[in-house]
């Protein structure tokens, strides 16, 4: 066991964990902004109720995305100082741009939105949630451009053992980024859409069982009448369900399309990752695609990777021999099992979610009620796309190994030389335990508010909640 191994585990754990929250921030932010816009345009009360309901879930989640994001920014320097020194000239620029152009926008305007409900004119208040949501989406672009550079470095030269940027435009329009940004942002909208689908379906099921509403413990003065009203009208949940189904289906199409783009770029730029994802050991023309071990569809891999069913696809062993010639002795193959299976989980669960959304739209067409059996299936829309997303990141980043910067810097040479095994072990243990505890907290809070349903706006300003009631500048808080 070396510090390198633990540093890699730490990066994997903290990054995957961070990305449990980010997709909801990206997708749900826009969704909530859309709901508030609908309320602004139509004046219909149930859009406001939905805005506040999903807004609250959004904020519970947003906090986690922010605090785990800070760790990411520090982690490069703490655990990977050799990497940071090597890449900072290029990699740092999009990170600095992310902070300046995206994070300030996101955080400042979200504060205005949360506390501005009765401080700002309605139209300005609506603009604040859009500004915050656009900030989140912009941040995705910059960080993904930085990430794409690790896999397909462009616009730089290496001088005195450090990468030097020569063309920011090349970095920001890296073909890998152009394919990856819509793929990941689209996937974030699928995750967020799946979340809303599952929550709406749960609420619909909940109301069909005609169980009296679960009162919100904090609003102890809520009367039964209020509690009943708080379950809202079933049509409201149909609205959010249908909107989320549309969002998921459209975003899903974008994800699938850009996934195809990415496969073709892999063939050109990261052949080892492509070969590992397919378990293809030797160069092969007219390569078949095997969705599961033992099942082969002839020509399909060659076709997917190049649009030519007869094209030659390079295999891992032959690539290994070529890389040894080019870069010297070493193992240039990523963990084959992880890359192979994460690819299948990503595509399988992703397509399942898209299928679910299309089927849902069909079943609920023209005012048809959501069938109960399908409502239960809709609950799967929460875990499936999230698992697909995690698998996608494992494929992308474990498939990049053994490099941190493809062809330029090995992961083994990236780690901080002065940081001891014990230090990394401590931080790994601390972050893992803390993150575990916070995950429980987030789950408990989300489930609580999903079960409780939306609050009646009037109940919120009722006194009696606390020892000393207080005029608060917001309804959200």
């Amino acid at each position: 066991m070396e510090a390198l191994d633990l540093a890699r585990w730490q990066f994997g754990i903290t990054t995957v964990y961070h990305f449990l929250f980010v997709p909801l921030t990206i997708g749900l932010g826009i969704f909530v902004a859309g709901l508030q816009t609908a309320w602004h345009r139509t004046g219909k009360e149930h859009y406001l109720t939905l805005t506040k309901f999903f807004g609250k879930l959004f904020l519970i989640n947003f906090a986690m995305g922010v605090v785990t994001g800070i760790v990411q920014e520090f982690q490069f320097g703490m655990n990977w100082s050799e990497y940071s020194t090597f890449v900072g000239d290029v990699f740092g620029a999009p990170l600095a741009m992310e902070a300046l152009l995206a994070f300030f926008l996101e955080s400042t305007f979200l504060g205005l939105w949360i506390f501005g409900w009765d401080r700002l004119p309605k139209r300005v208040h609506l603009a604040t949630i859009w500004a915050a949501a656009i900030g989140s989406n912009l941040s995705a672009y910059f960080i993904l451009a930085a990430n794409a550079w690790m896999k397909h470095p462009v616009g730089y030269v290496v001088e005195d053992g450090r990468a030097r940027m020569t063309d920011i435009w090349a970095v920001l329009t890296n073909s890998t980024a152009i394919a990856q940004v819509p793929h990941v942002v689209g996937a974030a909208f699928v995750v967020a859409g799946g979340f809303v689908i599952a929550v709406s379906a749960y609420r619909i099921l909940h109301e069909r069982r005609a169980v009296p509403a679960v009162p919100v413990p904090d609003t102890s003065t809520t009367t039964p009448a209020n509690a009943k009203a708080s379950t809202g009208d079933p049509a409201m949940w149909r609205t959010s369900l249908r909107a989320a189904l549309v969002m998921t289906a459209i975003a899903g199409a974008v994800v699938a399309g850009t996934g195809d783009m990415s496969a073709k770029l892999l063939h050109e730029q990261q052949p080892m990752k492509l070969a590992s994802a397919e378990g293809l050991q030797h160069d092969e023309s007219s390569a078949p695609f095997s969705p599961l071990p033992g099942v082969e569809i002839p020509y399909l891999l060659s076709f997917l990777a190049t649009n030519d069913p007869n094209a030659v696809i390079q295999g891992t062993e032959d690539l290994q021999a070529r890389f040894e010639k080019q870069f010297g002795p070493g193992d240039y193959r990523p963990n084959q099992a992880v890359v192979f299976w994460s690819f299948r989980v990503m595509v399988g669960f992703g397509l399942a979610t898209i299928g679910l959304s299309v089927l849902g739209l069909w079943l609920t067409r023209r005012r048809r009620p959501l069938p109960t059996w399908f409502a239960r299936i809709c609950l799967l829309a929460l875990p499936l796309p999230t698992l697909a997303m995690i698998a996608g990141w494992l494929l992308s980043e474990i498939g990049r190994q053994p490099w941190t910067v493809a062809g330029e810097l090995l992961t083994a040479a990236s780690v901080s030389p002065g940081v001891s095994l014990a230090e990394v072990a401590i931080s790994l243990a601390v972050f893992t335990l803390l993150y575990g505890a916070l995950a429980v907290g987030e789950a408990v809070l989300l489930i609580h508010y999903i079960k409780a349903g939306p609050e009646v706006p009037a109940a919120e300003s009722q006194p009696g909640d606390d020892e000393a009631p207080v005029l608060q500048p917001t309804l959200m808080y």
Partner: protein, 305 residues
């Protein structure tokens, strides 16, 4: 002035913005349990920073991001050198952020106390550790680090107390004034000790900055005594600005032992790109953050409606 110098100054400016803004956030987080007698007052105190603390924290994200981009070797060397203190600091920022966001949403008073604990500890850790880390960078001594940490902690308390007295009405406003006076009893002597952090052969600028910063702390105490809260806040902010300026003057031109600014710097092309982006973006950031403070300019009350 060539761009390496410009970016060193700009990074100092970003850190200054962070310390001035998040400085009172930390102070408020620390003081909330002391100043407030009940939940209504706790909300009153914490809501003074509610709309702004997250935006304030982005100054840190930007400062670190700018260091990464403009001086990669400084970023990498500093962060890996202060490994465990930074783990602790990050834990602080995490539990504080989650505590602030979740305390209005948790299910019962017990969970709310847990959030308050997170806010308190999560404010104390970074308030102390930033001072300790930067003092250690200047002097490379454990004693200097402890003094630096205590000074930044005391200064955050003073700055935060003055901020609460400026942003609230009623009993809390008076309690905050008393807390500011109490904090100054620690801040002033520790501040005098912290003057020893000015490196030997420190420039006239560093000395002037440090001394005027101390004078500003003293002025803040006098002003809060005379209930001039706005001016007192200007004075504590000035103290932080000048103290940070003196600090970065001390870090020039060798921000890490054995590493000069020039060695740490990115190439001229990257510096140019960053300069353009900074010049375009920063005015907007300053404008909309200033607007946020304008929107929430009213004092908060704990009165029943």
């Amino acid at each position: 002035m060539e761009l390496t110098t410009v970016w060193f100054v700009l990074i100092a400016v970003l850190w200054t913005g962070y310390f001035v803004l998040e400085g009172f956030d930390f102070g408020v987080g620390l003081l909330a349990p002391v100043l407030a007698r009940n939940e209504g007052e706790r909300k009153q105190v914490l809501n003074t920073i509610g709309p702004v603390w997250d935006g304030n924290e982005v100054w840190l994200i930007t400062a670190i991001g700018a260091m990464f981009a403009a001086f990669p070797a400084w970023y990498a060397g500093m962060l890996s050198r202060f490994y465990l203190p930074l783990v602790l600091l990050l834990v602080g920022l995490i539990i504080r952020g989650v505590g602030l966001e979740w305390r209005g949403k948790v299910r019962n008073a017990g969970e709310r106390r847990l959030c308050d604990l997170g806010i308190g500890i999560g404010s104390a850790l970074p308030a102390f550790l930033w001072g300790a880390i930067f003092a250690d960078l200047l002097k490379d001594s454990a004693v200097a680090a402890v003094i630096g940490g205590l000074f930044s902690l005391a200064l955050c308390l003073l700055h935060g107390a003055v901020f609460v007295s400026l942003k609230t009405t009623g009993r809390v406003r008076q309690a905050a004034r008393r807390a500011a006076l109490a904090a100054s009893v620690v801040a002033v002597p520790v501040g005098v000790l912290a003057l020893s952090s000015v490196p030997e052969g420190g420039t006239a600028f560093a000395w002037a900055g440090a001394l005027v910063a101390m004078a500003a702390v003293a002025a803040a105490v006098a002003l809060i005594w005379r209930r001039r809260e706005g001016w007192a806040f200007a004075a504590t902010a000035t103290a932080i600005v000048l103290g940070t300026a003196a600090l970065f003057d001390g870090l020039w031109p060798e921000p890490l032992t054995g590493l000069t600014v020039t060695e740490a710097a990115s190439g001229p092309y990257t510096m140019q790109v960053l300069t353009w982006i900074g010049l375009i973006a920063l005015p907007f950031v300053l404008a909309y953050q200033a607007w946020t403070y304008w929107v929430f300019r009213k004092r908060l009350t704990a009165d029943v409606v």
